[in-house]
């Protein structure tokens, strides 16, 4: 298992070691101790599965005030996965980073607490599985608008398919209730 840093401090990409043979393949998709060894202390309490069509954009989401870290994996298909630092007073406030996750390389993206997350489906459809460090609190769900001019994410589409809720997301600069950055 390899950990790859991103140009944002906090989030990272996890590359598993995959064992192929004539039957198929095998890999460890989650191992608490192995992660700890790499200084990733992730406590999982819930896991979710989402199937989406091509060009669907889910995001950008945060949970506040009950913060949620997420470990994103793609079971089928290919996505453009984005993480944004939305912590108040963070030196990287509003900075984003995008990675391609697919079912071939089976990389995972770690989205720490205090980071916004969203993804766009690039393949015909995609199945995304994500593990969470905090359970789902519907009333704590906050949407940041996907095309926020301040964050300025370079999405590979101009007209994604959105939920009504996501289409009414807030602009980051107009949001008052945001996670705090701690040194």
């Amino acid at each position: 298992m390899k950990i790859k840093k991103l140009n944002l401090s906090g989030p990272c990409v996890i590359e598993p070691k995959i064992f192929y043979d004539d039957r198929g393949f095998f890999f460890e998709s989650w191992n608490k101790d192995e992660y700890l060894k790499k200084k990733l202390n992730i406590k999982i309490v819930q896991e979710n599965f989402a199937h989406s069509k091509k060009n669907v954009l889910r995001g950008l989401h945060i949970q506040y005030p009950k913060l949620q870290g997420k470990l994103i994996s793609v079971m089928n298909g290919r996505i453009f996965d984005v993480v944004v630092d939305v912590r108040k007073n963070s030196p990287a406030f509003g900075k984003w980073c995008g990675v391609i996750l697919d079912s071939k390389k089976k990389k995972s993206l770690w989205v720490p607490e205090g980071f916004g997350h969203g993804y766009l489906v690039l393949s015909k459809s995609a199945d995304v599985m994500y593990k969470c460090t905090c359970k789902y609190y519907p009333k704590n769900q906050v949407e940041i608008i996907w095309n926020d001019p301040f964050i300025n994410i370079k999405w590979p589409t101009k007209k994604p398919i959105l939920s009504q809720k996501d289409s009414l997301g807030y602009e980051l600069k107009k949001m008052k209730n945001l996670p705090r950055w701690k040194k």
């Binding site: 519907p138 009333k139 608008i145 095309n147 959105l162 009504q164 809720k165 289409s167 009414l168 602009e171």
Partner: protein, 303 residues
């Protein structure tokens, strides 16, 4: 939506509510209307209790603070009526598995797009009224209740204050009238809005599918200056000839120093593809409806 037995209408005396009141009987025999006196939307703590007494299966919220310029001055009141009370109603609807129909506006957009606004375009209100209406939509969606949000643009009615009437009043008073020519929209008759609302509701009940957010408008587009010209044209000599002077919205704000005027979107057109597809009919052009209404608009003004 399951079978509808009891309907609660809020805003029965408003432009749209007054028409809905008559037409809702075609959906259910049990229609309850609460007037402003019976349900004061500024008394937030009483809202849920009052709705509780009737236990509706469907709430139509046609009430609200609709004076766009007034909203800039009276922010607290606007927020309370348009956002906080909506949250109370939506929460009640969620807790009691009730369906909520709510009217919203094109003013949640900034108007800086060339084409008509689609349901999922990025919202970016430029006045306080629009900000509140957007916040209300968010409250409804995050309440997790079953909802239908209908977005409207330029509404006129025989009753109540609205743009064609304002023009008629000014025509009677002044010789020269300055009118904005760079803001476009679709004038929509309140009765047309209420008839179409009923149509949408019937379809939702029959087909058990919910479009959730729909733009509701007739077809066509016009600016305020041209609309005033049309009014004079259709008045058939019942209004005296006056000089209409086109100006842009910036100039208009400058010459109206007496009153604080809220900024309005330049483009208030709504894309109605989703609506026409859902109802499987073509919407009429606004002008065909307007021609029929103009005599009443002029006559009613005299009173």
């Amino acid at each position: 939506m399951e079978k509808i037995n009891k309907i609660l209408l809020l805003g029965q005396s408003g432009q749209i509510g007054s028409h809905l009141k008559k037409k809702l009987k075609t959906i259910s025999k049990q229609v309850k209307c609460l007037s402003k006196k019976e349900l004061n939307l500024e008394k937030l703590s009483s809202i849920k209790k009052k709705i509780d007494r009737f236990q509706p299966h469907l709430i139509i919220n046609a009430s609200g603070f609709t004076e766009v310029d007034e909203a800039e001055k009276n922010r607290k009141k606007c927020f309370k009526i348009n956002v906080s009370s909506t949250k109370e109603i939506a929460d009640w609807a969620f807790e009691n598995e009730c369906f909520l129909v709510h009217y919203s506006t094109v003013y949640i957009f900034d108007g800086k797009k060339k084409n008509p606004w689609r349901e999922k375009d990025k919202a970016n209100p430029i006045n306080y009224y629009g900000k509140c209406k957007l916040e209300a939509e968010r409250e409804i969606i995050s309440s997790k209740c079953s909802y239908l949000i209908l977005r409207l643009n330029w509404i006129y009615n025989e009753k109540g204050e609205n743009f064609p009437k304002k023009i008629i009043r000014t025509i009677k008073k002044k010789k020269k009238i300055f009118l904005v020519n760079n803001q476009i929209g679709t004038p929509n008759d309140a009765e047309f809005i209420s008839t179409t609302t009923i149509r949408i509701l019937k379809k939702i009940i029959r087909k058990k599918i919910n479009p959730k957010v729909l733009n509701l408008s007739a077809r066509g587009s016009i600016n305020y200056f041209n609309l005033a010209q049309k009014i004079l044209e259709y008045s058939q000599g019942k209004l005296r000839k006056v000089e209409l002077i086109p100006i842009n919205s910036n100039m208009y704000t400058k010459i109206n120093t007496r009153q604080k005027i809220a900024e309005r979107p330049l483009n208030s057109l709504l894309n109605i593809n989703k609506l026409e597809k859902f109802l499987n009919i073509q919407m009429p052009n606004w002008e065909n409806i307007f021609i029929k209404k103009i005599p009443t608009l002029i006559r009613n003004y005299k009173k």
